[in-house]
Symmetry: C2
Subunit: 307 residues, 2 copies
């Protein structure tokens, strides 16, 4: 009963209407690990960092049950760096700087002791590398979840389509679903994307929630209406971490349980946006999580007997 996560561990510089940070820990695998480790241990991390990635961050993750055997440390290079500025609506952002650094040479190797994992979370990363990890596994995991982004659709669509054939769940946002399918209607987009490989599709709509599609079924989970979204960076990765963390914990990959997993993911993401970077995720307790999930229940629960 374990979970492999693949993705970046990095530094971000972030500007939002509420503030600015010049250098904060980030990366898709970092957020996934912080979120998923609340539900499942070990989280077996595969990533790459430079000589500048904080030891204290590694220790913090390790103390939460995140295994680092698959994290390559490159002594003479810097970690991946991303810098971006959010617009007022927080749903759109401009990328200001992308310094690949160590990521330019990343060749993920699955450690021997990771083999046999039941769950695989492919965080947002070059599709070729996601595929390489799948191909290295001697036993196919029970469930493979893949995150990706428009950038890979622009420059590596053929590779992306290869990975799609091998995964069970794809996570994209609404504009990416439209780009990938060429369909404006999300219902039509979902049908087309599921014909490319994944049996399940999650379309994230930011502050407007998320949709889960499977065959002819659809489930909708709202985002929590928040007073302030402080920093949306990592919210999608945190959602993914909560989602697969719940599935790995319960060992149940039915559509019904995926609904619950999406609520768990949404709850985790709602914490993420409350502070810069993964800061808020480091503070929260099991009770905070369970209270937040109850807020989601109250948010959508209604009594239909009256109708």
């Amino acid at each position: 009963m374990s979970l492999i996560t693949v993705g970046t561990m990095a530094f971000d510089a972030i500007e939002t209407p509420f503030g600015k940070v010049d250098k904060i820990v980030g990366g898709s695998a970092t957020y996934v690990a912080y979120a998923a480790s609340n539900f499942i241990k070990p989280v077996q991390q595969i990533s790459i960092v430079g000589n500048d990635f904080p030891e204290v961050e590694m220790t913090e993750l390790t103390s939460r049950g995140v295994e680092m055997d698959g994290v390559e440390v490159v002594a003479d290079k810097k970690s991946f760096f991303w810098s971006g500025r959010y617009h007022l609506d927080m749903n759109t952002r401009d990328t200001l700087v992308t310094d690949l650094n160590v990521l330019a040479d990343f060749n993920p190797i699955v450690p021997e002791n990771y083999q046999g994992a039941d769950f695989l979370m492919l965080g947002n990363l070059m599709p070729k590398l996601q595929l390489s990890v799948i191909n290295q596994l001697t036993t196919r995991p029970k469930l493979i979840v893949m995150d990706t982004m428009n950038f890979w659709m622009d420059i590596a669509l053929d590779d992306l389509k290869e990975v799609l054939k091998k995964v069970d769940v794809l996570l994209v946002n609404d504009s990416e679903a439209r780009q990938l399918s060429g369909e404006f209607s999300l219902v039509k987009a979902a049908r087309k994307i599921m014909s490319m490989g994944p049996k399940f599709l999650i379309i994230k709509k930011g502050e407007h929630g998320a949709l889960l599609f499977n065959e002819n079924h659809v489930f909708f989970a709202p985002a929590l209406p928040l007073e302030e979204v402080f920093d949306p960076t990592g919210a999608g990765d945190t959602f993914a971490g909560g989602f697969i963390g719940h599935l790995a914990k319960t060992q149940d990959i039915s559509f019904e349980n995926m609904k619950t997993a999406i609520i768990v993911g949404s709850a985790m993401a709602s914490f993420c946006v409350e502070k810069f970077g993964p800061e808020r995720l480091k503070e929260i307790t099991q009770k905070d999580i369970s209270d937040r999930i109850q807020q989601f229940v109250r948010l959508v629960n209604f009594d239909i007997d009256l109708v």
Copy 2:
């Protein structure tokens, strides 16, 4: 046990990415009446039409329990006419033509036999006229619901604020909530708007669903993910009609019952957008409505015991 509705009865010309109609029956009170009459009779209509409004439409509405005593027919003028073109996302539109015609002289009179109604639906209309209707009522209704739009915020904000002080529920869309409150966060916007008078606020987000606020409580209802939104004209009015129709039918104006009423309103709106104008609303049966509401239950229902 009755419901008064006030608003326009009109003609629309509509252009969407899916087609075009040059002249179709529309108007806020028309849509409200078609929706609400599925749940409550009589619906006591207050509106104004010209010599061109179809007799067959009046007969159709009357056969559904809509009373026309409050609908003034002006013999020598034309009905209100609106023409608009929707963008591809269907959430935004350009107004091409607005011919006030009879609406320029509208002075709504509450007929004597409408007095004593428990529910009042103030459809989107000049705020002064909404206020005039409230002031004519000898007994305050149990619940006053008000719809409005950005246009009145631009040109009649003071009047609008006067009406706000006298209503229980306000319906606006997200951009209108932001405009009226000056707050970007919808949670903050809701708090500010509720301090202006209404105890309940519904923020409609089109394809992204709707939020209901009351004191510190919030409820979220999704919109049904549809293959195609054919024509969104009247969806907001239809939502309002389903909402107040359910409340009037059940005679229960608690927050809990308003949640259900919002699901009913969303279900009605999901029919409205399937064809041009109110065409689809004329076809549906009680079974269609009940099946559609069940779709909403399945869309948001999840089992949280597993967490």
